[in-house]
């Protein structure tokens, strides 16, 4: 049996025995065959000596069992790494950040504790997947929607804790922002609740996030401070209708006023669906690959020669038909008043709930319907698809301006080309958050030893982005130290404060060592 570094075989065996007595022998896994299923299938370290692997896994079914497992680990200094459903592929999967950790697999904690139709909220355990919740809402005749990522097989809790996002209306797309109330087991086994959950007898845990004093929900986002065992979310009352509509503009120079006006309209609640700004002329042939933005005169000439617009802004609207049609009309008026040669297109209008026929024609995630159909990416003739064994994401926050969009595109495309990074998807500026742009690049990973160069190159891209003030909001474990390093204001005070909190709340440093670059004291020197 592999033991965690610094833990004797005897101590480890004692710890596992205590965990077995808590959760039952069937739910403690130590065989290589079982531990293989806890590897990150898309790891950039696959089969290399530094691959992050578990020494054991334990699957509790209740809060009390989680507490018992954590206490058993804390008493012996055994590192543990909680996962919810383990489906965070591209960002780490079910594998721990610190090799040798015992994975606490929360998949069996799959209870939907409450759905409050009037409050449009729910309270769930970490093993509840988006599919589980969708099925529950359908079976109970609920009029509530959930907001889903794509694919939808992950955990509502796990996705939110890693800052995942979805595709419906603005208040629900940022999944951590849509949470309301967290329960977590701390490093010493104590049970903690945020917000109104701290007030016994409160009926408002899923209504008011803050409670009293400093708001501590953020302690558990991308965190190493606790094992989250319950989480509340706000759900979206099913709207009457959905409209998707686009605005096309013809000149390079339109991009800055376009983004400014689009921002004003979104921030002013004129539209509430997910915005997208792309360039038909620069994505022709392959909508998955936003080509480098050329100089203005070159791009304008391309527009003339191809007849394709320079820019396309797409907005979504959820609400009563009368309202969203009026909102779209107002948007058209505003763009017509400000731009020449602007054209408009209504892409899609559907009444809700979706009919069976509509369900076959829409992107399900836009309607809160979980799906795995995104697995077919690359199959639709989008051009330079690069077959691989998996992928990772590079996801940098860039300025939400036209200038920022163009500069980030040019720098990233130039540097990825220089380094030979084989992108198979490079996004236009899209975001699930209302106040930011994210530049997404998908990078293929392999299981045949090609990943070393990839890792070096991604590290270089992280450094280059940081020089421009662009930082990743989420990344695979292999890059979490580098990304945290790039948030370097005042001699990395962000990481240092996180370390102080870590030392205070988890003095034995057992929970999720190294997650997002925060290591416990005893591992800090060598960074794990």
């Amino acid at each position: 049996m592999t033991t965690p570094k610094g833990i004797s075989a005897q101590v480890f065996a004692d710890g596992l025995a205590e965990m077995r007595s808590a959760v039952g022998a069937d739910w403690v896994f130590t065989s290589q065959e079982d531990l293989h299923t806890y590897r990150d299938f898309y790891s950039v370290l696959w089969d290399e000596p530094d691959e992050r692997v578990a020494s054991a896994a334990v699957a509790p079914a209740s809060v009390e069992e989680v507490q018992a497992v954590v206490r058993a680990a804390n008493a012996r200094g055994i590192p543990v790494y909680p996962i919810s459903t383990g489906r965070n592929l591209g960002y780490g999967g079910a594998a721990p950040v610190y090799s040798g950790s015992v994975v606490i697999d929360l998949k069996r904690m799959n209870r939907i504790i409450d759905v409050d139709e009037g409050n449009a909220s729910c309270l769930v355990e970490p093993g509840v997947s988006y599919f589980d919740m969708y099925r529950h809402l359908q079976e109970t005749g609920s009029k509530l929607w959930l907001d889903v990522p794509d694919p939808g097989w992950g955990s509502m809790v796990g996705n939110a804790l890693d800052s995942g996002g979805g595709y419906t209306a603005a208040p629900y797309r940022g999944h951590f922002e849509a949470q309301c109330g967290i329960e977590a087991v701390l490093g010493d086994g104590e049970l903690f609740r945020t917000g109104m959950g701290a007030l016994p007898g409160s009926e408002t845990w899923q209504q008011y996030k803050m409670g009293i004093g400093p708001s501590l929900d953020g302690l558990f986002r991308q965190s190493s401070l606790g094992v989250v065992t319950k989480m509340g979310f706000w759900l979206f009352p099913q709207p009457e209708a959905y409209l998707s509509a686009s605005i096309d503009l013809q000149r390079f120079e339109d991009v800055e006023p376009l983004v400014d006006l689009f921002n004003e309209l979104e921030y002013g609640n004129i539209f509430n669906g997910m915005p997208s700004i792309t360039s038909p002329v620069l994505t022709r042939g392959n909508p998955m690959m936003f080509q480098p933005v050329p100089e203005p005169e070159v791009m304008n000439r391309m527009v003339e020669e191809t007849g394709l617009p320079a820019w396309r802004a797409t907005a979504g609207f959820y609400g009563p038909e009368k309202v969203i049609r009026a909102q779209w009309e107002y948007m058209r008026d505003r763009f017509s008043a400000q731009f020449q040669n602007v054209t408009f297109k209504e892409n899609q209008f559907v009444k809700l709930p979706l009919s069976a026929e509509d369900m076959q024609k829409v992107s399900k995630a836009r309607f809160g319907v979980p799906s795995l159909e995104i697995f077919s990416v690359g199959s639709n003739g989008f051009g330079d698809f690069n077959p691989s064994d998996g992928h990772i994401w590079f996801s940098a926050i860039i300025p939400r301006t036209g200038k920022g969009l163009v500069e980030a595109n040019r720098v990233m495309r130039r540097e990825c080309a220089r380094l030979g990074i084989p992108l198979f998807m490079f996004s236009p500026a899209v975001t699930c958050w209302t106040r930011s742009f994210v530049l997404f690049a998908a990078v293929p990973v392999y299981k045949d030893g090609r990943n070393k160069e990839l890792r070096d190159n991604v590290q270089e891209i992280i450094r280059i982005c940081a020089q421009h003030g662009w930082g990743e909001y989420r990344c695979p474990p292999a890059f979490q130290d580098a990304v945290m390093d790039s948030y370097s204001f005042n001699n990395n005070i962000l990481r240092r404060v996180n370390e102080r909190i870590k030392d205070a709340l988890d003095p034995n440093g057992i929970i999720s060592a190294g997650r997002y670059g925060v290591w416990p004291k005893h591992l800090r020197g060598g960074r794990g």
Partner: protein, 139 residues
């Protein structure tokens, strides 16, 4: 451009965990008739496997779901793409793929699918294939 393709543009950037596999849609000559067997494994299959390996069409107009499509391409007519039409997936074979993954599909843990559930799915697939129309096998 279809609505589905427009949707991809904005859908793609926020995905995490999509197994990206190189497939092109293999158009079935005729849709086979799947008659689901009334066995406990049916619910497990429908919940755990069918979102990718079911026989339904995709929401972007593709005629098959991704797992079904990639298998159809892999076997190029020598075996059905839909698992519910396969007669060669006994429990041992199924368990191998479930526990080891394949291509872009990751492995599944026992906390997600117990061995007994995998066995139940195998029994369901065998019974369903036996009572469903079979895709002609190309020799």
């Amino acid at each position: 451009m279809s609505i589905g393709r427009i949707a991809w543009l904005a859908v793609l950037p926020v995905i995490a965990g999509a197994g990206l596999v190189a497939v092109s849609w293999a158009q079935p000559a005729a849709s086979p008739r799947i008659v689901p067997a009334d066995l406990p494994g049916r619910q497990v299959f429908e919940r755990q496997c069918a979102p990718c390996h079911g026989a339904g069409p995709g929401d972007d107009g593709a005629p098959m779901l991704p797992g079904t499509a990639v298998l159809a391409r892999k076997y190029d007519g020598s075996k059905p793409g839909a698992l519910e039409l396969r007669t060669d997936l006994d429990a041992e074979v199924l368990r191998y793929f479930v526990r080891n993954g394949s291509g872009g599909m990751p492995m599944f843990r026992k906390s997600e699918l117990t061995d007994a559930q995998v066995d139940a799915v195998a029994a369901y697939l065998a019974a369903t294939a036996a009572q469903s129309d079979q895709v002609p096998i190309r020799k």
